[in-house]
Amino acid sequence: MRGIGKRFPGVIALDSVELAVARGEVVALAGENGAGKSTLMKILGGIYQPDEGQVFVNGNPVMFRAVADATAQGIGFVHQELNVLDNLTVAENVFLGREPRFARYLIDRKKLNSDTKQYLSKLGLDVKPDTPLNELSIAQQQMVEIAKALSLNARIVIMDEPTSSLTLTETGQLLSVIADLRAEGVSIIYISHRLGEIKQIADRVVVLRDGRNAGTLECDEIDHDRIVKLMVGRDISEFYDHGAGAATSSFAEIRGLRTMRYPRAPISFDVRKGEILGIAGLVGAGRSEAAQAIFGVDASEDAKVSLDGRTVNIRSARDAIRNGIYLVPEDRRIAGLIVDMPIRENITLPALSRYSSAGLVSKSRESKRAKEMCERLKVKAPSTETKAANLSGGNQQKVVLAKWLSLDPKLLIFDEPTRGIDVGAKSEIYQLMRDLAASGVAIMMISSDMEEILRESDRIAVMHEGAITGVLDRADASEEAVMRLAVGH
């Protein structure tokens, strides 16, 4: 791709960007959110058309007007958001729109399943082709997408943050699949925020910043600090600064909490005032469900939750909010924010009565508060009237936080607080968590990012199949210890 430029109304998304991928090479594309990685890949995938520049495949200039054009040139795209239909089977997804047929209009089910099987075994995915997709884990669904790309005989596979929702073992599996593909001569463009993975798999790293090429690192030059430096364009010396946790006596006590998913595994644990309790575990261990149960959005019938020795009765999110228990949910676009509403309305939503008199909302009071919160959390947005949908992931997460910090948090639960967020915003969010803890808020942090768990938690509770298998103090915590508990030993 040479001299690619792309403008959107009001923004220059890409400005003469260059990218080359050799046969059988894994190129990692790194950059902060909004740096133009996804836009560049959408041009290569035929979803967007460039305003300037030219795309070459095998040295021939090509013009992609639609996704089908890119597919015809052997370019497969595994999207960040899952693009699968979970009401269909694995095989139907893989061959969607290209089903093998007989008698012209009927689907050849046998061939469909056997062809699919071949791709699944190549990826080491042990499921039957006729399994409905909704019975698969997220990681397996991700693999199905890759199978789909392979079935197109893709010579170039674009993977846009494929591991953002995968656990450690699943990620390892995916990386070995990538290595196999590379050995077969497939070129891979790999977008990820996880610098560890990039270091492990990439032959070369191309870093974008503000829609321009910021630099390229060859295999032997790849290291964490260099990538980060190129991404943010400055040194972050205080990057991931960790203050000492001043945890004291237990503050929030949770006893006999049952979730819908694991009704037979009541869990009990404490969170101390001023500490960050990390909750580790594999995807599906019931961590999010536990958080939702505490927050009152998952059924928990006989759970006893007490704050500061006072028992609180939580039947709904309203009750939790009234008691100062807040949840920053895993999926900000669905549960955290109403993305079509402006920042202002999102921030004031949980306590709208504070900004209203006689049932009528005072917009000026709302705006004032929203502006204060945006300044405090350094939300980058043109104004508080900007729709949340138009913000980057990190800024969206800050708005979710602003929602709760404008109230009075006592127990704050973060579910995957930094998923899909760029490094700059990440360190700001960690700093905020630290500051909150220091001011006496009890914090629970659910995370699938092992680095994050080990670095940020004062204590780590590990869950496996709905139960807490162990709580580690900071001193005893290691990747190995956490993993052992996470798999149930």
């Binding site: 909010i321 949910p329 669905i334 009528l360």
Partner: protein
């Protein structure tokens, strides 16, 4: 806001075109009748708009009109209940039906489309059963003339239903666009999960929209019953839910929920009524006899409502009833025209 503006421009253009093509559009009788219809349709369109803002739908409104009309006639004519009691009872029943809808949708978790589709079938059947499938009416409205004049009379030359609509719109504008409740309504319509995670009782908000819709349908139902004056349970109110939905959607309410405005719904209602009027005024066939018939029809529409206010002499009374039935029937013809008219199809295409 852009959506509303587009519909408004369309409305203005249509009015100008219509007044050039047929100056009788601007005749005060025609405008009065138009305003009266906008008043009645607008009231229940706002109710439907609320439901649509929550991402739901209410298909039962038309059948509820039939049921309410039949009950109102029975209360007033057969049982001789005081006018106020009858009206309050009918509006309460309509609100109650809205509550049932809301309950089934939010607590039993049946889709709004299914619940209200059942309502559409069931309430009309109920109306026909109660009325023994006979046409009900109010005759000369003896003993409740004041009530009738709410639907058929005017205040300072403005038809009362239009005045009622203005009052309701102002109140609903505050509720929807300025109150905490209104904000919650939009939040739930946009994203119910996030609203729930923000501590909003989403079920209560959704159900309340159906209750409000029932309340407004009750008010509109009373006015409509007196406007047509005769209620044939099998056809009274047929397709009215679709006019309400069309008005709300034309006015910028998204069927996916979370979008819409009172002003938009009003513009949408007016647009639909002007379109209906256009079909009437321009649909005059060329043959002389037909022209005479339609002119007669026009003049009937003109005298109809006012004549109803002074039903003193015997022949006049009979004539009034005859006219009312005629108006009712021509209303149905208009409806038929509206559904098939290429212009209305075009208009709805433009919106989608």
């Amino acid at each position: 806001m852009r959506k509303e503006l587009g519909t408004f421009v369309l409305l203005v253009v249509l009015c100008i075109a219509l007044s050039i093509l047929n100056p009788s559009f601007l005749a005060s009788a025609n405008l009065q009748n138009l305003a009266r219809l906008i008043g009645i349709y607008g009231i229940f369109s706002i109710g439907l708009g609320l439901v649509i803002i929550t991402g739901g739908i209410d298909l039962s409104v038309g059948s509820v009109f039939a049921l309410l009309g039949v009950l109102l006639s029975i209360f007033l004519v057969d049982w001789h209940l005081p006018a106020a009691v009858a009206v309050i009872a009918v509006v309460a029943i309509s609100t109650g039906l809205g509550l049932i809808n809301g309950f089934l949708i939010t607590k039993i978790k049946i889709q709004a489309f299914i619940v209200t589709l059942c309502g559409l079938l069931f309430y009309r059947g109920l109306a026909r059963f109660i009325a023994n499938d006979e046409t009900k009416g109010f005759g000369a409205a003896q003993g409740f003339e004041t009530l009738q004049s709410m639907a058929t009379g005017s205040l300072f030359g403005v038809p009362t239903p239009f005045i009622i609509l203005v009052v309701i719109s102002l109140a609903m504008w505050v509720v929807i666009h300025r109150s905490v409740y209104g904000r919650y309504l939009f939040a739930v319509g946009r994203n119910e999960v996030a609203a729930r995670y923000s501590g909003i009782n989403a079920d209560l908000i959704t159900a309340s929209a159906y209750v409000l819709c029932g309340l407004l349908a009750g008010i509109a139902g009373v006015l409509l019953a007196f406007y047509t004056n005769s209620i044939s349970p099998s056809s009274h109110g047929n397709f009215y839910e679709l006019y309400g939905i069309a008005a709300a959607v034309l006015g910028g309410c998204s069927l996916r929920g979370g979008e819409g405005s009172i002003i938009g719904i009003l513009i949408g209602t007016a647009l639909l009524q002007v379109l209906q009027n256009l079909v009437n005024l321009l649909g005059i066939p060329s043959s002389l006899s037909e022209r005479r018939r339609s002119r007669r029809q026009c003049s009937r529409q003109r005298t109809g409502p006012q004549a109803a206010c002074l039903p003193r002499q015997g022949f006049r009374r009979r004539a009034t009833i005859m006219i009312r039935q005629d108006v009712g029937r021509s209303g149905d013809e208009q409806a038929g025209c509206l559904r098939s008219s290429p212009l209305s199809t075009l208009a709805s295409w433009c919106r989608t």
